[in-house]
């Protein structure tokens, strides 16, 4: 029994750290322009597909694959922001949200058009090594995924707290107008935020591809929405919140599948979402804000 629990714990942390990577993108964008970046899940899917193309056509070196996927997807993320979000930034909230949904539908179905709706096998870009610790088989890949996620999150933490760009990002998220008055080019900062969030999502896409060994054009919608749930769970706008929220969601989902029923897997995340929204809408780490008149 203990073995099963430990094994599931590891599975949960692995999936959870991937959720965290995607949730960071949602939370950063929401922190700055107060918009649910609906297309973020599809950006993650595009990242996985770019990784697939690189791995099958050019090089199966893991670092090359993940670096090219992150760079390409960062550009796509900025493009989406320029085309679908920037023109509606001053419109009503509902317009911006519908435009974001449009971007999401467009990206996923464009990939369906190009690739076809079928599932694609992901090449093995990471050697399969298993080792035994006290009777539990641990796959090295899982440890590696967790380590890569932690490294990327530390990288993000460094950027946000120790670079000029990061300080500007935090200023814009506190108050866009005031930040602009202080001479910060807010358009540039918003694009930068999209670039960082999208590259983290691409990294998550490549990690998911290597972990599950399959990708499909519609995988972004559900996985992305669950990552959004993780961001809400941690408190949207809060970077540590997104990390913790992802882990909690990953663990809850894996435990739910193992001990309740596998067929309700997708309902667990949304059940948590509705529960959190009713009980504590500001999430675990978020600050409750009152709307000012």
């Amino acid at each position: 029994m203990l073995e099963i629990i430990l094994k599931q714990l590891l599975n949960g942390i692995t999936v959870g750290s991937i959720y965290s990577l995607i949730a960071l993108g949602y939370t950063m964008v929401y922190g700055i322009i107060k918009l649910i970046n609906f297309a973020h899940g599809d950006i993650y899917m595009v990242g996985a597909f770019v990784g697939l193309i690189v791995a099958t056509q050019f090089s199966s070196n893991f670092i090359v694959v993940i670096a090219i996927a992150m760079a390409t997807t960062a550009i796509i993320g900025v493009l989406v922001e320029k085309v679908a979000y920037k023109p509606v930034r001053n419109s009503s909230r509902i317009s911006a949200l519908i435009s974001a949904i449009g971007a999401s539908i467009f990206i996923s179905n464009l990939v369906v058009l190009i690739n076809g709706p079928q599932r694609e096998a992901y090449p093995q870009i990471f050697p399969e090594i298993n080792f035994n610790v006290g009777g539990i088989t641990i796959s090295f890949l899982q440890i590696f995924i967790i380590l890569v996620s932690i490294a990327l999150m530390f990288g993000l933490y460094y950027i946000v707290h120790n670079t000029k760009m990061g300080i500007a990002m935090r200023a814009v998220s506190q108050n866009l107008t005031t930040a602009r008055l202080m001479g910060i080019n807010s358009d540039k900062i918003i694009s930068f935020t999209f670039a960082i969030g999208s590259s983290l999502a691409a990294a998550a896409g490549v990690l998911v591809g290597t972990y599950y060994r399959a990708v499909d054009p519609l995988m972004g919608l559900l996985f992305g929405l669950k990552a959004f749930v993780a961001a809400v769970l941690g408190g949207i706008g809060s970077i540590p919140g997104a990390m913790i929220g992802g882990l909690v969601l990953g663990l809850a989902e894996v435990m739910g599948v193992a001990f309740i029923s596998p067929s309700f897997r997708d309902a667990i995340a949304f059940g948590i979402l509705i529960f959190i929204l009713i009980v504590k809408p500001s999430g675990l780490f978020g600050k409750a804000t009152k709307e000012k008149v």
């Binding site: 509902i94 519908i98 997708d266």
Partner: protein
């Protein structure tokens, strides 16, 4: 009535017209929630599926007459709308959108995993009682109902919520009550649409009521114009018939929906028919 219509049009046209009518009814419900009250719902198809499944079960298992099934489908849509609306309508716009989306997914997963509701196989052998005449009657009813509602005192209160929630509250409008009311009525129309749909095709499957269905309905509303009855009707007609004409290009359909949503929001957020600027 029906035989005359069948004489005038062939079966194919009658089928497309009926589906269009059913879409109009559901989009009018969505218009009340999203267009008039300003609460973005991304789970409208869930209420459609609740109406479709409850009415089909009552028709098949209890052998109830058609009108009873329709009332039951509408009632279950309204019931679930109220049950979901009461807790989540306290949430602000974008959270609400995600919560309704989550609810839609939960409904789909639950139906998919409930053998009594047919599971992934769907429900067969629903009596095909819906025809063009009945659908047309309910379309006229829905338009009349929505028109009267908007012009009434309650309609004024609901519209004030969309324009400015805080100001409306200061003026003494009971915001949560009116939000739940509009959400319940909107869901009831989705339930009615679902019941008509199930009794028209006589086969339903959880796949038909997924997130993409909700998006399709939202797209119809956005194209015509949020908050406008004529816009909701026009948008439903356009997006129900154009895919039929352009069947050879059906794989481009969803991509086009995405482009339509972005372009409409960037260049004409009020839709083709909307007059007032929606401000949330």
């Amino acid at each position: 009535m029906d035989s005359i219509l069948n004489y005038l049009f062939n079966d194919y046209i009658v089928q497309v017209a009926t589906i269009t009518g059913i879409n109009i009814i559901m989009v009018l419900g969505l218009n009340l929630i999203t267009g008039v009250t300003g609460q973005l719902s991304l789970g409208h198809a869930a209420f459609m599926s609740i109406g479709a499944y409850s009415s089909s079960m009552i028709s098949i298992k209890l052998g109830a007459p058609f009108i009873v099934s329709l009332i039951a489908g509408t009632g279950f849509g309204a019931l679930f709308g109220a049950l979901l609306g009461i807790p989540i309508l306290r949430l602000r716009g974008d959270y609400l959108a995600i919560a309704t989306l989550g609810f839609g997914e939960i409904v789909r997963v639950v139906i998919l995993n409930t053998p009594a509701l047919g599971g992934a196989l769907g429900v067969y052998g629903i009596p095909p009682s819906t025809n063009l005449g009945i659908t047309a009657f309910f379309v006229v009813f829905a338009i009349f109902f929505m028109y009267r509602l908007e012009k009434s005192r309650h309609g004024l209160a609901i519209r004030s919520i969309r324009e400015d929630e805080i100001a409306a509250e200061m003026m003494g409008v009971n915001i949560s009550r009116y939000k739940v009311l509009s959400f319940t009525i909107g869901s009831a129309f989705a339930g009615l649409g679902g019941a008509l749909y199930a009794h028209f095709l006589s086969y339903i499957n959880p796949i038909d009521f997924g997130f993409m269905k909700s998006i399709e309905q939202l797209c119809m509303l956005v194209l015509g114009g949020m908050g406008s009855i004529s816009g909701a009707v026009f948008g439903s007609i356009v997006l129900s018939t154009i895919p039929e004409v352009l069947r050879f290009a059906s794989e481009y359909r969803m991509v086009t929906y995405g482009i339509v949503l972005i372009l409409m929001m960037v260049f004409r957020p009020q839709g083709l028919f909307g007059k007032i600027k929606v401000n949330v």
